[in-house]
């Protein structure tokens, strides 16, 4: 188990900043970071940081880069249980660029910023004990996410299903803002609320909204399925259908991924004739899937 407290990197950078400046600051920071974390920072980052933020140590791109470099090194060294402390909604944490899936359970204690876990490719669970921002798991290949708080726009955007990946599975306990699973090509999202235009341009994957009915779901979708409570409205290109036996099987398979996280009892018995499930999210609630419908591409508009 490895714990990275990002405040430690911030403190180290502040120390360097208090005793140096300009090029000297960058060189000293590079040296100290190598001593402490055995990682280096690219030269290009110096110019980008100075151009955009006036100096290196106040540039958020420095902390994103270092966080990802340190974690990547730990994974390469064989670590597969990592905790991050004090993320302070830093952008782009968890972009490691591994070409093959890695085994990694990651827990983030706090809020994560835009594009957390983008391009992810892992086996395990990444848990955020806080909120997540735009583009959570954007273009993700594989992995499981559990977000304890809410997530802003574009959760699971461009979720990737390829010849070697099935997409990312995401649970958002307090709901997503607009355009969840936009342009998704695979993967699964279970959420307790989703904003306007969720499922926009979906071509595959499943979006299951267990929260209140949404608005304008599925605009321009050509594939995939949205399960949502009756009363949800659709955008152009999407059609509402009743659930059939096969849908109950699909719902069961998606919920199986989060069975422990949602403390679901008797999931094995779930079917069209036994459509109620006791689900523990923020609180226990019984959900009756007879109150749900599915939203799919309107066959009259897809050619």
């Amino acid at each position: 188990m490895y714990t990275l407290d990002i405040d430690e990197i911030r403190a180290l950078a502040n120390d360097v900043s208090s005793i140096s400046s300009g090029s000297n600051e960058f060189e000293l920071l590079k040296k100290k970071l190598h001593e402490r974390f055995q990682v280096s920072i690219p030269e290009g980052l110096k110019n980008a940081a100075i151009e955009k933020f006036g100096d290196v140590t106040s540039a958020p791109i420095l902390y994103e880069n270092l966080t990802n470099s340190i974690l990547r090194k730990k994974v390469e060294d064989g670590e597969n249980n990592i905790t991050i402390k004090n993320p302070r909604a830093l952008y782009r944490i968890g972009i490691f660029g591994f070409s093959e899936p890695v085994n990694l359970n990651l827990t983030v204690e706090g809020n994560v910023g835009n594009f957390f876990g983008a391009f992810c490719n892992f086996n395990g669970t990444w848990t955020v004990k806080g909120h997540a921002e735009n583009g959570l798991a954007d273009k993700g290949y594989c992995g499981k996410f559990v977000i304890d708080g809410l997530a802003t726009e574009l959760v699971g955007q461009n979720n990737q299903s390829t010849s070697y990946s099935h997409g990312v599975d995401i649970l958002v306990r307090k709901g997503c803002m607009e355009r969840a699973m936009a342009q998704a090509r695979g993967g699964n999202l279970v959420t307790f609320g989703a904003g306007f235009n969720s499922g926009l341009y979906m071509s595959d994957g499943i979006l299951m909204n267990l929260g209140e009915p949404g608005e304008l779901f599925g605009a321009g979708m050509v594939g995939g399925i949205i399960y949502a409570k009756q009363g949800t409205t659709t955008g152009k290109g999407a059609a509402i259908r009743k659930l059939d036996e096969d849908d109950y099987e699909k719902i069961k398979n998606v919920l199986r991924i989060f069975e422990r996280d949602l403390d679901i009892v008797d999931l094995d018995d779930f079917s069209k004739t036994n459509s109620r499930l006791d689900i523990a999210n923020i609180k226990h609630e019984e959900i009756d899937f007879r109150e749900f419908e599915k939203i799919v591409a309107d066959e009259n508009m897809v050619h």
Binding site: K52, N111, G113, G130, E133, L150, M177, F196, N197
Partner: protein, 285 residues
């Protein structure tokens, strides 16, 4: 990808609420979004009085601007506004009673170094980080935007008002004056025109949402209110949070583009997202 933020203190009777310091932290935490300009508007009722300030940027040389401030009584405000509008070297930026707007090109921390934002007190305020998309990088195109129509109104905006020309044309036909080329200015002028017409700020926001096209989130402040408003399809984000009071701050509501801005000032309870098209307003108590 501009960054916007705002806050309303729970108890506006506190004489020294650290609005400047909180706003500055919120802006610096969102600096990654934009680096072309930064600005704030802070409202402090201790400043309210019988006179008004009309502030302008006066061009000096090729690209430098100095701030030109004209103190006016309510009687000579129209005359002074007229005089300034004739001066081609002058760019209007704010019409103030209790409000103070300060803005400049560059980073948020440079704004603080120049004007001492962290030392400013008040009941509420808004802040902006600009990345220029539709007008030049100059101090007068930096947010917040104010108007010469009524004092003490300021807006900050992230996104685009795509039918800006149409809205501007119709407001100009009604006789309202614009002072910049920015689409964001139309929000301030529209709201001010409605305040003049019916005096209901919530209704003014609803009317703007009904008329405006495009992806946008804006935060608008008047002497008594602050509102965060998203376009009707929610295509630009906005987040609200509450700090119930801690060792650094009295209780306040905060709103911003990025969660990081709420995180850095401890406004992470009661996190919510404003419903698209429905203004979320906080009134000064």
């Amino acid at each position: 990808m501009c960054g916007i933020c705002g806050l309303m203190m729970d108890d506006s009777s506190l004489r020294y609420s650290p609005v400047g310091s909180i706003l500055q932290d919120m802006m610096e935490s969102q600096q990654i979004r934009a680096q072309d300009g930064a600005g704030i508007a802070i409202f402090d009722k201790n400043n309210a009085g019988d006179s008004f300030k009309i502030k302008n940027f006066r061009k000096e040389g090729m690209s430098n601007y100095s701030i030109d401030e004209v103190e006016s009584s309510s009687e000579n405000v129209p005359e002074n506004l007229e005089k300034l509008s004739q001066d081609s070297e002058c760019h209007f930026f704010s019409f103030e009673n209790e409000m103070t707007i300060l803005k400049e090109t560059g980073l948020a921390r440079d704004l603080d170094r120049k004007f001492g934002i962290r030392k400013m007190n008040g009941s509420h305020g808004i802040g902006h980080l600009r990345i220029a998309t539709s007008s030049r990088v100059t101090p007068y195109n930096t947010h917040p935007f104010s108007t010469t129509i009524v004092p003490d109104i300021a807006i900050v905006h992230n996104g685009e008002i795509t039918n800006y020309n149409m809205l501007r044309d119709s407001l100009e036909l009604e006789g309202f004056t614009f002072h910049t080329d920015s689409d964001s200015e139309v929000i301030a002028v529209f709201l001010a025109s409605k305040i003049l017409k019916h005096g209901d700020i919530e209704r003014a926001h609803r009317e703007f949402v009904a008329k405006a096209d495009g992806p946008f989130t804006y935060i608008a402040a008047t002497a008594d209110s602050i509102a965060i408003v998203r376009d009707k399809f929610g295509t630009r984000k906005g987040i609200i949070g509450y700090n119930p009071g801690d060792s650094d701050h009295p209780p306040f509501w905060a709103m911003a583009t990025d969660l990081s801005a709420l995180d850095v000032v401890g406004a992470t309870t009661k996190i919510e997202t404003p419903h698209p098209g429905k203004p979320r307003i906080f009134y000064r108590n």
